[in-house]
């Protein structure tokens, strides 16, 4: 599928929106948005017959799938709408189209939200210094809200086997390792350790699945919108708290374990304050370790796409060599957990 030119996209979107609204719509200013290796995203302006206008974002599938566990655009559309209705800071979604005659692949359209999503920029931009101060509390509040979404309205969300998210995650990771034929004793050791120390979930909730700096739109006031909902699932909320603590998601601010923005303990306490739920710290650590192992394995799986000839890419090839970074981190966290004792998991 050839890439769309901005002019071609504007014409197709104008026709689509005209049909959807039943009145002429003019589209202009289409621009590809940076980031998002798995989806094609564009910003554009639309002017409606009543004279109102707005800036919108198109989010469309790409022909190659980065991750087969990702939700479809229709599912992502449904849960973003549910999250918005629940009061979560998320772009309001407008139209969903699964007709291949329109843009060849499924897409949806949502309101444009101004903000920076590039992790390194969020962490270093002088303009966002105040935002970095506000973000930990805002993120804790949003997470508590996201975890209180009612999953019964979203019955398509993946659920862990036997309602055992930790065990399910370990089994899935073994399966991925085997599917790509990876031979890495460090990963085997780390995963075996996780298998022997799986925490029991205190509760199962809606999980965003990729909640970190890099998947938040940030403006001068802090968190403007939570984006990239395609890995949402049902799980242990400790998974989400541990995930955002991963070193790779600190974008160089190593010392601050919670997203590179705050020490972990005050962040967890803020989350407890908003959610009214006590958090098992050791389970959060377990999920941080498992998150590193999973990311290490995904790096190898991405390199395999290059090595197999399916998707030749210097970026994918280089990801294979990044795996060792997350392996090292998982081993360090396990060493620290062993030193501190993990009997209470």
């Amino acid at each position: 599928m050839p890439p769309l030119s901005p002019q071609a996209l504007e014409a197709k979107l104008a026709a689509y929106l005209t049909e959807q609204t039943g009145a002429p719509v003019q589209v202009s200013g289409a621009q590809p948005l940076a980031g998002g290796a798995s989806r094609d995203s564009w910003a554009f302006n639309a002017t409606f017959e009543d004279g109102t206008s707005g800036r919108f974002v198109l989010r469309r599938d790409l022909p190659t799938t980065m991750n087969e566990q990702a939700l479809t655009r229709a599912q992502e559309f449904a849960l973003m709408r549910a999250a918005h209705d629940h009061g979560v800071q998320v772009a309001r979604v407008g139209w969903l189209c699964e007709d291949p005659d329109v843009l060849e692949l499924p897409f949806f359209i949502m309101d444009y939200v101004e903000g920076v999503s590039v992790g390194r920029k969020v962490m270093t931009s002088p303009d966002l210094a105040a935002a970095r101060g506000a973000l930990p509390d805002q993120m804790a509040r949003q997470l508590a809200l996201i975890h209180s979404l009612n999953p019964s309205d979203l019955d398509f969300l993946p659920r862990p086997l036997g309602n055992q998210p930790a065990r399910h995650a370990v089994q899935e990771t073994y399966a991925t390792i085997d599917s790509i034929g990876a031979v890495v004793p460090a990963l085997e050791y780390a995963l075996r350790w996780c298998d022997l120390h799986t925490p029991q979930p205190d509760r199962l909730t809606f999980i965003h699945g990729d909640f970190r700096v890099g998947n938040l739109l940030v403006n001068a006031a802090g968190l403007a919108a939570v984006i990239d909902w395609e890995f949402a699932h049902i799980g242990d909320p400790c998974e989400e708290l541990g995930y955002l603590c991963m070193r790779d998601w600190r974008f160089g601010a190593d010392k601050l374990r919670a997203a590179g923005l705050s020490p972990r303990e005050p962040f967890i306490q803020a989350y407890e304050g908003y959610s009214g739920v006590t958090v098992n710290r050791e389970a959060v650590t377990w999920w941080e370790i498992l998150g590193n192992i999973r990311w290490a394995v995904i790096c190898l799986a991405q390199a395999q796409r290059h090595l197999s000839g399916q998707d030749p890419s210097i970026e994918l090839a280089s990801l294979g060599r990044r795996s060792v970074e997350m392996q090292a981190e998982a081993l360090r966290l396990i060493r620290q957990s062993n030193t501190q004792g993990v009997s209470a998991l």
Binding site: P185, E188, Y189, R192, L331, R332
Partner: protein
């Protein structure tokens, strides 16, 4: 043997070409610019592997011998050594998954082995991160 330039120097010539001529020329194309930065980094990894890869393989081999109680010798042929390491690591991986390293004593020795191996690989693939991690270990000041 053709060693003018040698393998390391050949890689360096490509790296210098990319850094001095290609990167400035593609700065206006964000995706290609980023991909070329990645390519330069990949070349630097390859250069470090050329310089230190064999020594790392020998260290890993000796550590495996110590862990498993074997006394096998590593092949002088790089490809054969790499293949043999994969065979041994496959056996070790299967043993770990089968629970043969679960007992505390042997588990601790396994942990030291994999930390040493990964530490060496980190020096090749992400030397800046390796330095940051070592600084944490040296000072005992871990992320809070």
């Amino acid at each position: 043997m053709t060693d003018r330039p040698n393998l390391e120097q050949l890689l360096d010539a490509v790296r210098i070409h990319l850094e001095s001529l290609v990167i400035p020329a593609v700065r206006a194309e964000p995706k290609l610019y980023f991909q070329t930065l990645v390519a330069v980094n990949v070349l630097k990894i390859a250069q470090r592997e050329v310089a230190h890869g064999q020594a790392l393989s020998e260290t890993e081999w000796a550590s495996l011998n110590a862990l498993t109680g074997e006394a096998a010798s590593i092949s002088a042929d790089l490809r054969a050594a790499s293949d043999a390491l994969t065979v041994r690591n496959r056996a070790l991986s299967a043993d770990i998954r089968a629970g043969k390293y679960d007992e505390p004593g042997v588990s601790t020795r396994l942990a030291q082995h994999v930390e040493n191996v990964v530490g060496g690989q980190l020096m090749l693939n992400a030397p800046t991160l390796a330095q940051r991690l070592r600084a944490e270990d040296d000072t005992g000041e871990y992320p809070a």
